[in-house]
């Protein structure tokens, strides 16, 4: 049961099905943008999309009508402002209604940890006194059996598919990423199936500082997608394209401009600039 290395199109077709619960993770760094675009191209629907920081690729997926539900903890265009497609979906149900399940970062991170750990829930200090538990069913009180102290439990976030982007994989499908690596390991370990897009396939993964290695026996598919995190960045490969994040503000702020962008994306092999 070794990882197979396949083209991105094949990977998405094989792993992501309508109605799946899917996380594309990457905390500002190494966001699997190209994989998200391929999901839009293949027209997946009714997805439950999960992501701590839905930013422009989730704005795009929501605007493209791929999502039925969003599980998240912070939705914005970092350094720029709002996500207009996300707002339009919540405020005006365009292009269709979007159910939301809202957590804090700590809560969502612990939901991934619980799933990666094979536990049904995680315990944390959090949410107490906030209005979140009133609107989010996946938050519950729990009492310490030793001290009687009241804490908060959140259920494991089990995924059908996790998609992450990394700098490298070797020919056997072992994956290496470095720099800020967020919750990517937890997301992959929380998923039944996983896809890692990588900047390049190399002969050997030489050890590096601050590297996370995912052994091939926990990765389903690898696809080589150079520049696959653009406009986010890939540490030691390319910088964040801050201009694109600002451009997105204009593209996404108008339904017609966005729809033209989406049509172009669906026709082309690459995301329109």
């Amino acid at each position: 049961m070794r990882t197979r290395i396949v083209p991105l199109r094949t990977a998405i077709a094989e792993l992501v099905h309508d109605g799946d619960t899917v996380a594309l993770e990457g905390f500002t760094h190494l966001i699997p943008m190209a994989a998200g675009h391929e999901v839009m191209r293949q027209g997946r629907r009714d997805l439950t999309l999960v992501r701590m920081t839905p930013d422009i690729v989730y704005d795009q997926l929501i605007g493209a009508g791929c999502a039925r539900k969003l599980v998240f903890s912070w939705g914005g265009n970092p350094g720029v402002g709002s996500l207009h497609r996300f707002r339009d979906a919540i405020q005006n149900a365009w292009p269709e209604p979007l159910e939301i399940e809202e957590h804090s970062h700590a809560g969502l991170a612990n939901r991934y940890v619980a799933a990666a750990s094979g536990l049904p829930f995680a315990v944390m200090r959090g949410y107490r006194g906030t209005d979140l538990p009133e609107h989010t069913a996946t938050i519950a009180p729990i009492t310490c059996p030793f001290t009687g102290e009241q804490l908060t439990a959140v259920p494991a976030l089990e995924l059908d598919v996790a998609i992450v982007h990394a700098q490298r994989a070797d020919r056997e499908g072992n994956v290496q990423m470095w720099g800020l690596t967020g919750v990517q390991k937890e997301a992959v370990l929380a998923a039944k199936r996983s896809l890692v897009t990588v900047e390049e396939i190399v002969d050997e993964l030489e050890p590096r500082p601050n590297a996370v290695v995912l052994p091939n026996w926990v990765v389903t598919l690898v696809a080589e997608v150079p520049n696959g995190a653009h406009p986010s960045y890939a540490h030691d490969y390319y910088e964040r394209d801050n201009a694109y994040y600002r451009e997105w503000d204009a593209i996404s702020n108008d339904r017609n401009v966005f729809s033209a962008w989406l049509a172009e994306l669906r026709e082309g092999a690459r995301a329109p600039a």
């Binding site: 905390f27 350094g79 991170a109 200090r125 949410y127 006194g129 906030t130 937890e186 996370v212 201009a243």
Partner: protein, 245 residues
Amino acid sequence: MMTVAAARALPDGAACFVGIGLPSKAANLARRTHAPDLVLIYEAGAIGAKPGRLPMSIGDGVLAETADSVVSVPEVFNYWLQPGRIAIGFLGAAQIDRFANINTTVIGPDYDHPKVRLPGAGGAPEIAASCGEVVVIVRQTTRSFVEKVDFVTSVGYGSGPGDRERLGLRGRGPVRVITDLGVLEPDPETCELTLTAVHPGVDAEQARAETGWELTVAGELRTSPEPTTEELEALRELEASVLPA
């Protein structure tokens, strides 16, 4: 002035949990002026980041390159923030109320049909709960300074004295709210935010006019010292250091 005042609120050597935007700018300004040993912690996983330029996002590459330690996001929250190891949390707000509760979730009374959908919680609820103390930076207008927030994303003093203890929140809560007009601090008795300082050229009346509740003004209202030449220069350098897009 708001950035300078916020930077001044950070004591040298403290560990400080910073969000992107104004908090990050103020924290980096502090590092370049009076607090070179300030320990910056970013939720993306950088412990002890020492960025030479101003990071553009909370996960900017410069944070990993200059950090003492790079850890996973669950570790940041579970091992570093949750146990109360971080002295100061730095938060922004869309709305803040009389008891320093913060809203970054929705504007409007109906969560399911919000007037404006905001980004949401991010790391704020646990920063507000677990940091030793919290500093809030927010522009002061009647839209942002409200009697009661539409949604409690992060708890300040709840509905008043004793609420934090009852909720098991272990940090002290917001000790200072820094605005473009001045500084507000919770009254030691009532926990109500009170105007304790105005910035140069601002008077209490202006601050009261931009506050959505009957703002109490401290008996001894201070005026913030003018930004020093050193502070202004450091701020200019910092702003110039942002990577060209």
